[in-house]
Every structure is written in structure tokens, then in C-alpha cells.
């Protein structure tokens, strides 16, 4: 576990304590070797039911991603409170992880942080690595400031 980090996690289906412990050890090794992974830019304005993707499984474009019968979709609604002050000296992050059967890792979620005179940072992120990597430290350069505040996020994860 990297320094200056605490976290809580719900493990996925079938998870055991030993799996969590052994994976954490492997992640530490991975991070020492490869460091933090930088992300690409965040795209906005396109809903998941209107964008074209070329996955290796059936695509259903019927609208609400929570109700789409993807073979390999994980989704979860997360509801985080609006941050209204300048109390944080760093950031908090609420997200989900998925790991594909070809050993790719993806992550999405939301960050809360005071940046630039009390504005708020939020992020949608994805990390793709061909090795287990349960979570990583985000870099400040990935934060964006916006005048509105994201209070509830529907996270949908697909590999495609």
C-alpha cells in the first residue's frame, strides 16, 4: 500500500481475504517497477447509447446503461455528497474497478478535492494495464475544475 493512502473497498464476487492480501503485495511490486500511469483526456457530451464501439461482444444501444444486457458490464450507482468548503488538504476518491479475462484493468469514478482557490476537482478515469493493479495514485494534472458539482455518478464499465 503506497504511503499517504487509506482506502476502503468492497471486493468483487467470490473475493477472499487472502486474495486481497496477495494482490496488494503484487501491486506494490508493479508500482515500484512502472510508477503512476497517466491518463488520456476526458471526453464529454456523448452518451454511451449513441457512441459506436467495436467490442468483442454484443452491443446493445437501448439507452440506460444500467439496464443494458452486456455480457461483461459492471455498473454501480454511487452517490457522493457535494463538497462545500476548503477543508481537504488532498483528495478523496470514490470509484469502481474491473478486471477483464484478458488481464486488462479499468477504473472509473469521481474525485473530490479543493483545487485552485476552493473550486472542486472531478474526474472520470480509466486505467488499462495488462497486469493486476487494484488502484493507483492519481496525479493532480488530471483534475479539472468545473463550476457545477457532480453529486451522483452512474459508472458503467465495459471493455471495448
Amino acid at each position: 500500500m503506497p504511503k499517504n493512502v487509506s482506502f476502503e473497498v468492497y471486493g468483487g464476487p467470490g473475493v477472499t481475504a487472502q486474495e486481497i492480501i496477495s494482490l496488494a503485495a503484487s501491486n506494490n511490486t508493479f508500482q515500484k517497477q512502472h510508477g503512476v500511469i497517466k491518463l488520456g483526456p476526458i471526453q464529454t457530451g456523448i452518451s454511451p447509447d449513441t457512441i459506436t464501439i467495436i467490442p468483442s461482444f454484443q452491443v446493445d444501444e437501448n439507452g440506460d446503461p444500467n439496464n443494458e444486457p452486456y455480457l461483461d458490464m459492471q455498473s454501480c450507482n454511487i452517490i457522493a455528497p457535494t463538497i462545500i468548503g476548503n477543508y481537504e488538504d488532498n483528495y478523496t476518491y470514490f470509484g469502481d474497478n474491473v478486471f477483464t479475462n484478458t488481464n486488462y484493468f479499468l477504473q472509473s469514478g469521481e474525485i473530490y478535492a479543493n483545487v485552485q482557490a476552493g473550486l472542486y476537482g472531478q474526474i472520470l478515469e480509466q486505467d488499462v494495464e495488462p497486469r493486476p493493479f487494484i488502484y493507483r495514485i492519481m496525479e493532480e494534472t488530471h483534475m479539472t475544475t468545473q463550476s457545477h458539482i457532480m453529486e451522483r455518478v452512474t459508472m458503467v464499465t465495459k471493455n471495448g
Binding site: 473497498v9 468483487g12 474497478n97 472520470l124 465495459k158
Partner: protein, 105 residues
């Protein structure tokens, strides 16, 4: 590809990643829902408008899309209530989430 919906603006944001492959998600610790805190000051949570965060309506990525089938808590001594199994809701109490641990370089 991953999406987030901002319910304040009803706008979607997404990342497209062309390198990811696979036909299913794995049932292992990498499939999880989590909250992490990098703050070290004792009142980091004071600026939030409510005292909790929550997760609900979790699907496990299986076929057909099934409910979350298992709960495992890391740091189980903190106040996480509820359950994600069977489309349940779990709640994190912000004030009881530990602050980051200061360590040397």
C-alpha cells in the same frame, strides 16, 4: 470504455481506451467498489454537504447481468453499513473513514 453521468447537468463523460480487450470480467479482487482518502488533516470531511457516501444497484458483470454476489470489506473496522449483494445499498460514514497515514519519503 467507461462512462460517468453527471446528474447535475445530465451530461455523460467517458474515456475510450483502445487497448483493453476481453470478453468478460473476472471475479477477483480487482472487481470492486471503493473509497479512498488521501487527506491527512483531521477535519477533511467537514466541507461535505452530507456525512455519508453510498453505493447501490451494483451489477457483477456476469451473464446475464446479475446482482453483486459477495461482500468483502477491507479495513472492516470502520463504519460501512448495508450490503451491495442483491442490489442492496451500502453507506460509508465520512467521519469514520481513516485519514491518510503520513510516512517519510
Amino acid at each position: 470504455m467507461m462512462w460517468c453521468l453527471d446528474i447535475t447537468t445530465s451530461a455523460w463523460a467517458y474515456h475510450l481506451e483502445t487497448y483493453a480487450t476481453g470478453t468478460s470480467l473476472s471475479y477477483n479482487p480487482n472487481t470492486s467498489v471503493f473509497f479512498e482518502n488521501h487527506n491527512v488533516n483531521s477535519n477533511w470531511y467537514a466541507g461535505f454537504q452530507s456525512s455519508t457516501v453510498q453505493a447501490n444497484d451494483a451489477y457483477d458483470g456476469g451473464y446475464p447481468d446479475g446482482p453483486w454476489a459477495n461482500n468483502y470489506f477491507c479495513l472492516p473496522n470502520y463504519s460501512m453499513t448495508g450490503s451491495l449483494t442483491n442490489f442492496g445499498t451500502t453507506i460509508w460514514t465520512l467521519s469514520e473513514i481513516p485519514t491518510a497515514i503520513m510516512q517519510g519519503p
